[in-house]
Amino acid sequence: MARERMIDTTAEAAKTPELDQPYAELGLKDDEYARIREILGRRPTEAELAMYSVMWSEHCSYKSSKVHLKYFGETTTEEMRTRLLAGIGENAGVVDIGDGWAVTFKVESHNHPSYVEPHQGAATGVGGIVRDIMAMGARPIAVADPLRFGAAEAEDTRRVVRGVVDGIGHYGNCLGLPNVGGELVFDSSYNGNPLVNALCVGAMRSEDLHLAHASGTGNKVILFGARTGLDGIGGVSVLASETFEGDETSGGRKKLPSVQVGDPFTEKVLIECCLEVIRAGIVVGIQDLGGAGLSCATSELASAGDGGMRVELDRVPLRAKDMTPAEVLSSESQERMCAVVAPEHVDAFLAVCAKWDVTATEIGAVTDGDNLVITWHGETVVDVPPRTVAHDGPVYQRPVQRPESQDALQANTSASLARPDDLRRTVLEMLAAPNLAAKRWVTDQYDRYVRGGTVLAQPADSGMVRVDEQTGRGISVATDCNSRFVALDPYEGARLALAEAYRNVACGGATPLAVSDCLNFGSPEDPGVMWQFREAVRGIADGCAELGIPVTGGNVSFYNQTGSTAILPTPVVAVLGVIDDVDRRIPAGIGTETGETLLLLGETRDEFDGSEWARVAHGHLGGLPPKADLAWEKLLGEILVAGSRDGMISAAHDVADGGLIQAVIEMALIGQTGARVLLDPDQDPFVQLFAESAGRAVVAVPRSEELRFTEMCTARGLPWRKTGVVDAESGSLEIQGVAEFSLTELAETWNATLPRLFD
């Protein structure tokens, strides 16, 4: 009773306009708080303050990035949009892939929680992105996980790596989603701030596309899934302690850790339940609950509709005792969804939920008013125009300034670094380096087989899954970002990330269609970081325009720093591709036919700035990244797809970190087949083996197809060079005139690093 009296209502707010409110502790600036008062014409209630503060946070409102992200829209032409069924602004972009199928995909970050509690942080990151995909009406069909950790040998890295990989594995495996790719990068800039990005792809019949809408006066709002508890409330517990004077007996709470615990089983049944109600055609709109929980879901649903919304918050099933309305609104309890359902379908909806044993509760309805009105035991605790919460957050023009140190960084090239004499030793050192070593220790912890449609997965360049069992149509996805290149030149580095992901998709034989990204940067309050950010956005957007594929959505994560030092700027780019028949996928391993020719497509230049060799051999980062020529990437992509279509290519692998020799070794080890590498006598062997020039791939071509394939390359103007022969008998890899290795030696070197570090 005592507590109920203390609930802050709109009536109370009108009566006590001068009450001191802890808005600063909730992260709101003076002028932001003033704007809220102006919008409402009074002070906000405690619940309203909680809503605005989370929804106007950097994470939810994109207040620092908005002005720059607009550039994506400005550079997307009508032509690039032709396959786009939904774009930026929806929960996730949707692309038409043909045969009546639509595919949606998105990457999100869960960086900070994964440092505090690696297992749960990473697990709930997967859970969140999967619900985003479900909110589009799609069935999640695959996940991928681009990861960045501190230096492999650093003290704390082991704890974080083990927890994150275990968490992603546990959650994804338990959901039954094949993990088909990702990245694993170690760099000391991530020591106190790992990057845990999670990507999910979903598929649906085009007609099932569901956008988050709440139209139709009288339609019911149903909350379903897990009960709401105190998890992830973090900042909002400030309210409780401020208002109720701190000590626990009087109802205040200790500051809660903003850690959420995931329950993948609940999410799995939630997926099945969602798909069943969508298939039955009994939902008007559907929305996931992620960051900012019910605050976000109700305000977004309401502002996407044409009316207002009424919510009886006390009907929300709770897991903790004595929660305040502000806490219920801000809780980030996982595995919850919200649906808008026409009154005549409510019973059918609840029946599906009962079948899957999913808790479902009608919590409100769409009204013909303008406002989102939330009550608590009959009293109004929120009465706001929903758009002001969801979309009209502050927009900042943060100062942007190219750092003065950038010139010195670029001037410090790799030209002066001593180059090795013993190439054999360098090959092995590079192969064992944590960033080039086999990723099996990670990927073996992920189920890549479930759902029975995985055609390519680690260690292939891209993950590929079959979408249609009749026609064989499938999708492919790859994520990439070399943040060292981005540090040297954010614009070029971001284009290189795009180029690499694009190339990786093409290497599997798929045609790249669309882009999503996860932009991980330091503090937006640092003008130098904002410069990196702006340049990276422009690089990706301009690159997409050159390639003719649109950015369909993405995610921004700021404030990534170890101590006060920002992480290397890390705009992770994900490219989605389509393949009309997965049967013609191109594997990465050689050995389909002995005597095949290995061709290097593209041109190798003496480019070592920012390379893996510069890092491994000299701990050096400086200079300018390799040149990115996207017209060339596009041509390379077309040739790879044509080669796959005409059965001219039996294996392909892109050349990136570690250079040509790393690519060839991987092709040999994946295919468990030996090869001979032939170098150009007129060029420096070191450069040929280790340079990281962009726009290159190695392909294996059957003897019978060699002439036809090389003539096609020549005719279309793509440089190629015969760089080796597959030798099934030898069991070894020979670099002619340089060194020879047994496959066993290479495999042991490649596979030993991660188990040594993390087992």
Partner: protein, 79 residues
């Protein structure tokens, strides 16, 4: 040699999906009258007499329990 028991339980405010699953299953198996269930871990350690309570506390705090989401108790139960 002493026997030490460390008990680790999820914090009350943290979701315990395992305990919930058990609680939900019991009535289906015909067992009624059980309210909330919480599931944690129990460690039995054989400990040299040289190991003092402070060391045991640190082992529990830094290693056996994840104090972000769990709480623990340490108890000597005899030798």
């Amino acid at each position: 040699m002493a026997r030490v028991v460390v008990e680790v339980m999820p914090k009350p405010e943290i979701l315990d999906p395992q305990g919930q699953a058990v609680a939900k299953a019991l009535p289906r198996l015909g067992f009624t009258g059980i309210g909330e269930v919480r599931q944690g871990k129990r460690f039995e350690l054989d400990v040299d007499d040289s190991v003092d309570d402070a060391a045991l506390h640190r082992i529990a705090e830094e290693f056996l329990a994840n104090t972000v989401i769990e709480e623990f108790t340490v108890r000597r139960v005899g030798s």
